[in-house]
Symmetry: C2
DNA sequence: ACCTGAACACCGTTCAAGT
DNA sequence: ACCTGAACACCGTTCAAGT
């Protein structure tokens, strides 16, 4: 018996030497499934199937589904650039950063939901984003003991807005049902006697909490104006 | 054969004539499971089991799990009383109402999560709460086109805060892990060189978004102060 | 060490069959 | 009409066995 021939080199091009799962490919696959088919489609089984393997294989690279979620959030948030803080312009910078963060969180539906569920951000990308926001706040003249609270609440508001906004544009067709209900509730309000829910009726506002971009920007303006007032007291 | 004897009257006390499932008992059962064992325990199967029946039986009284969630939220929110709007006191009234709503949403862990997921409130209790908040805002002198935005964003913020806060006190032991991670991240920040995440390091703040009651109250004060400034412009 | 895939202990929802 | 419970089509996670 001869020694077996070495495999001809062109075979190597056909399939990579070994399938080689990595955390990165898992996260990328999860993100592409998410943006293509929405949050419900992001299951361990589905991701594994996409990578031609069984669900158990993923657990060699990722602790559990929650950790995978955090890694997805991190990858998504890495695209946000934080500006060099400029004491002359902190108000504009802060607002721009919030709008940008909200934009990224809304862009891929489902990411904001993960952000909302992730109680403590421990992942580099998110820490960088937080640090950037604090950097702007710290050159605003706001007393130090307020800065943590301000950053905290601003981040919360951005995340919450992005979450609600993304519910409206999920690719799962859930948003159609939402629009239908919005109409129904308008009719319902009109049908009520004048003394029931008079304010909702008067505004004819179905009150979807916080999904209008205008409302979000208004809230940012009001909040930042309030912060500036705090800064003026103790410059 | 004689006609069968009528059942002796004391038997009736032993078991109710017929099991009779109602929407109300289902919602009540769901709420008590929720407050006893947290959101994960609230499954259709579990509720059915609690009522000595199969999961399919619930679907005669409730369309699906989402609808059950909304009914639970409604029942929980019904305890919030909205004050008679007083133009002299709208700032205090507004703050009190927000604190009260947040308190109720935080009280039963899991309710805030439902509130966050419920895109459009269509249920009487929530509509009443919204109407009350709008009532206070309408006697504040804030221009009408801002009132919807203000109410919208305030409700969003209350809900989001309650959601994050309730993550910390879930009975599923998830909160212990959260506290552990909070410590770990503090250590991690200290271990970093001075030029990495300088602001987070300086504040030594792990930045759990929006869970401190102080921070929430601060945000309400800042936001309401900002609204008042708007009201002063056009009285 | 990494990967497999069968198995475990669950889900929400549907539906024919019963009373 | 209301209820049943078996069945369907899924989950996340674990783990012995393979390479």
């Amino acid at each position: 018996m001869n020694a077996p021939l070495p495999p001809p080199p062109w075979r190597r091009a056909t399939r990579t030497p070994r399938r080689q799962l990595t955390t990165e490919t898992i996260v990328d696959t999860a993100l592409s499934v998410l943006s293509a088919e929405g949050p419900d489609a992001v299951t361990m089984r589905r991701i594994a199937h996409e990578l031609d393997t069984g669900p158990g294989s993923l657990y060699a690279h990722v602790q559990d589904k929650r950790e995978l979620h955090e890694l997805m959030l991190d990858a998504a948030m890495r695209v946000v650039e934080t500006p060099e803080p400029d004491p002359q312009n902190w108000r504009t910078q802060l607002k721009q950063l919030c709008l940008e963060q909200a934009r990224v969180l809304t862009e891929t539906p489902g990411i904001a939901q993960i952000a909302m569920e992730t109680l403590i951000p421990t992942t580099p990308g998110i820490l960088v984003a937080m640090d950037g926001m604090l950097g702007i706040l710290r050159c605003s003249g706001i007393p130090d003991d307020r800065i943590a609270a301000a950053g905290d609440m601003l981040a919360l508001h951005v995340t919450a807005y992005a979450y609600e906004a993304s519910l409206w544009q999920s690719p799962s067709g859930q948003s159609d049902e939402a629009h239908r209900r919005l109409g129904q509730i308008g009719d319902y309000l009109q049908s009520l006697p004048a003394d029931q829910l008079p304010n909702l009726k008067a505004m004819n506002h179905a009150m979807p909490h916080g999904t209008e971009p205008d409302h979000f920007e208004f809230a940012l303006d009001v909040f930042i104006a309030g912060l500036a007032a705090h800064a003026d007291v103790r410059p």
